[in-house]
């Protein structure tokens, strides 16, 4: 088996400009005071072969509201679908008195969200794939948050970490990889986790590199586990050169199947020759495997479209309570 050093092992972690204000860890994976609530912490990277999802049951919060914050789009109607599905899933479990969504690009806006909510205690979970500009600057600004817990207009807001940095995302990635390539032997397969990549905020790529490190060091069995990006090295367009195996599984680390995951990246992979309409989504994902550049390429829908992200949202609420409310 070919073992490759995870890209993230070579790169320094970026500092969070917001971490001092919030006292929150830049990443759940590197925080000393962040206690993942998976059962029995592993002394080494977790055993992922079973792809067990480590969701813990959350105690009902009948006097609290949950506010899921998403990006949204004025161009793509599919962009906000996962957020509403995550809200529907959690609402169906009757754990919170209210479950609402709000957005940066769609309605309701974050500033309007408070008018949706009756309850005075609100858990805010960014349904974002990583920490970065939106979770550290835009959301706190728009919701007028000043720390992990803020009282604004008589309501108490608890600001949780974004879903993408939670350790339980690892199980979802492996679950998605196996779903898209059920017959591909991991020993002959490279798993690539891909994202946008940008120099604007290094944290936007860190969550991906953390996941790569976890999976590469686990017993998931993939011949190689790599990170690759649209606009940053290593480039996803070079997927075939990066991958030493005949099979390649690519999982987009985005919340929604927006413009990047089913329009831009398929072109970079060579699946499509030009950026197509949003309606091409199903075709892109249904034609697996794609025989391209001498390899079998399996392309997944965005990780955020996994309905079990609802569990990760609840995990972040649970972890917030452990970290910030345990002593109260």
């Amino acid at each position: 088996m070919l073992t490759m050093l995870p890209q993230s092992a070579k790169r320094p972690a970026a500092a969070s400009p917001f971490s001092c204000l919030f006292g929150a860890p830049t990443s759940a994976l590197q925080s000393a005071n962040f206690q993942p609530h998976s059962p029995a912490p592993c002394p080494r990277p977790p055993c992922l072969a079973t792809s067990r999802h480590f969701a813990m049951p959350i105690a009902p919060k009948p006097n609290s509201a949950l506010l899921i914050v998403g990006h949204g789009s004025t161009q793509n109607p599919d962009s906000s679908t996962p957020y509403f599905e995550h809200a529907d899933e959690i609402r169906s479990r009757r754990l919170f008195a209210e479950v609402h969504c709000c957005f940066w690009k769609e309605e309701p806006s974050m500033r309007e969200a408070v008018y949706l909510i009756d309850r005075d205690e609100i858990y805010v979970v960014p349904d974002f794939i990583s920490e970065g500009y939106f979770t550290q600057e835009v959301i706190p600004r728009e919701l007028q948050l000043s720390g992990p817990t803020s009282v604004v207009g008589g309501k108490t807001f608890h600001y949780c970490l974004p879903v993408g940095v939670h350790p339980s995302m690892t199980g979802l990635i492996l679950r998605r990889a196996r779903q898209v390539a059920p017959d591909a032997d991991p020993a002959a397969t490279t798993l690539i986790i891909t994202g946008h990549g940008t120099g604007f905020n290094q944290n936007s790529t860190k969550a991906i590199r953390d996941q790569v490190a976890l999976i590469a060091a686990s017993d998931a069995g993939y011949a190689a586990v790599l990170d690759a990006f649209m606009e940053e090295q290593p480039f996803i367009a070079d997927w075939d050169k990066l991958s030493p195996t005949p099979n390649v599984v690519v999982v987009p680390f985005f919340i929604s199947d927006g413009l990047h995951s089913y329009q831009d990246i398929p072109v970079l992979l060579g699946i499509e020759t030009e950026v197509g309409p949003a309606a091409s989504q199903r075709e892109v994902f249904r034609h697996n495997p794609h025989t391209l550049r001498g390899k079998s390429l399996y392309y997944s829908s965005a990780i955020g479209t996994e309905r079990l992200i609802a569990d990760v949202i609840l995990d972040q609420v649970h972890d917030f309570d452990l970290t910030h409310k345990a002593s109260t």
Binding site: E112, V138, R141
Partner: protein
């Protein structure tokens, strides 16, 4: 009293319209019925066709997201809500869920306004707090902003909310169809409708401001 209870009282007092939607309170505590107001009279469009019955609020998002021609309604107060449906809702909680999909937060905004709790953010304040690539919108002049409002906030297309904000506290919007929009459909009395309120410029407006700022800064072509 919760917003749901306030809504129930409002409906009992004669409120029956929000945007393009007629709200009917069913007898014997049987819940509520929503439908496009234009489907009540049977004139034109989808009228005459069999209305699709939806039980529960689940279909509201889909109905609200796409116009009859399939276009994406990213602003939900556009006056092109799809017709041809009836939605039956068994509780006021489900009614709120549905209305918050059709007209996001508009029930809560109206209830807050009635209670004197609605905070309005004027446009200059909204633009001043933008960051990242959007910081450029701060440089737009009042004149440029005034010219954008009638174009972007037209009550016909795309948005029929009542603008509560001004350029700043001392600078009202210049009179236009946008600034005069009541947030209530024509022919409906003010005490019969929940008005669609705009407490601050939306991010679509901010995005248009960014485009205008970029255009203003671009070199002029010969």
């Amino acid at each position: 009293m919760s917003n749901s209870e306030k809504l129930r009282h409002a409906l009992a007092s004669g409120i029956h319209r929000i945007g393009e939607i007629e709200i009917q309170t069913l007898a014997s505590n049987a819940g509520f019925k929503l439908r496009h107001a234009a489907d009540m009279t049977g004139g034109g469009g989808a009228a005459g066709a069999v209305l699709t019955i939806h039980t529960g609020p689940a279909a509201a998002r889909d109905i609200a997201s796409y116009a009859e021609d399939g276009s994406y309604r990213f602003l939900k107060a556009q006056c092109n809500l799809r017709r041809g449906w009836v939605m039956l809702l068994g509780s006021v909680a489900d009614l709120r869920l549905a209305l918050d999909q059709f007209y996001p937060a508009c029930v809560g905004l109206w209830l807050a306004q009635r209670a004197g709790d609605l905070e309005v953010e004027h446009l200059r304040g909204k633009l001043q707090r933008q960051s990242g690539m959007y910081h450029r919108v701060r440089a737009l002049s009042d004149a440029a902003l005034q010219s954008m409002v009638p174009r972007i906030c037209s009550p016909a297309i795309p948005c029929a909310r009542r603008l509560l904000w001004q350029i700043d506290a001392d600078t009202p919007l210049q009179p236009s169809a946008a600034s005069r929009c009541s947030g209530i459909a024509e022919g409906i009395a003010a005490d019969e409708a929940i008005p669609l309120l705009c407490r601050e410029a939306c991010n679509h407006f901010v995005a248009e401001c960014l485009a205008a700022a970029k255009a203003a800064a671009a070199p002029q072509a010969d």
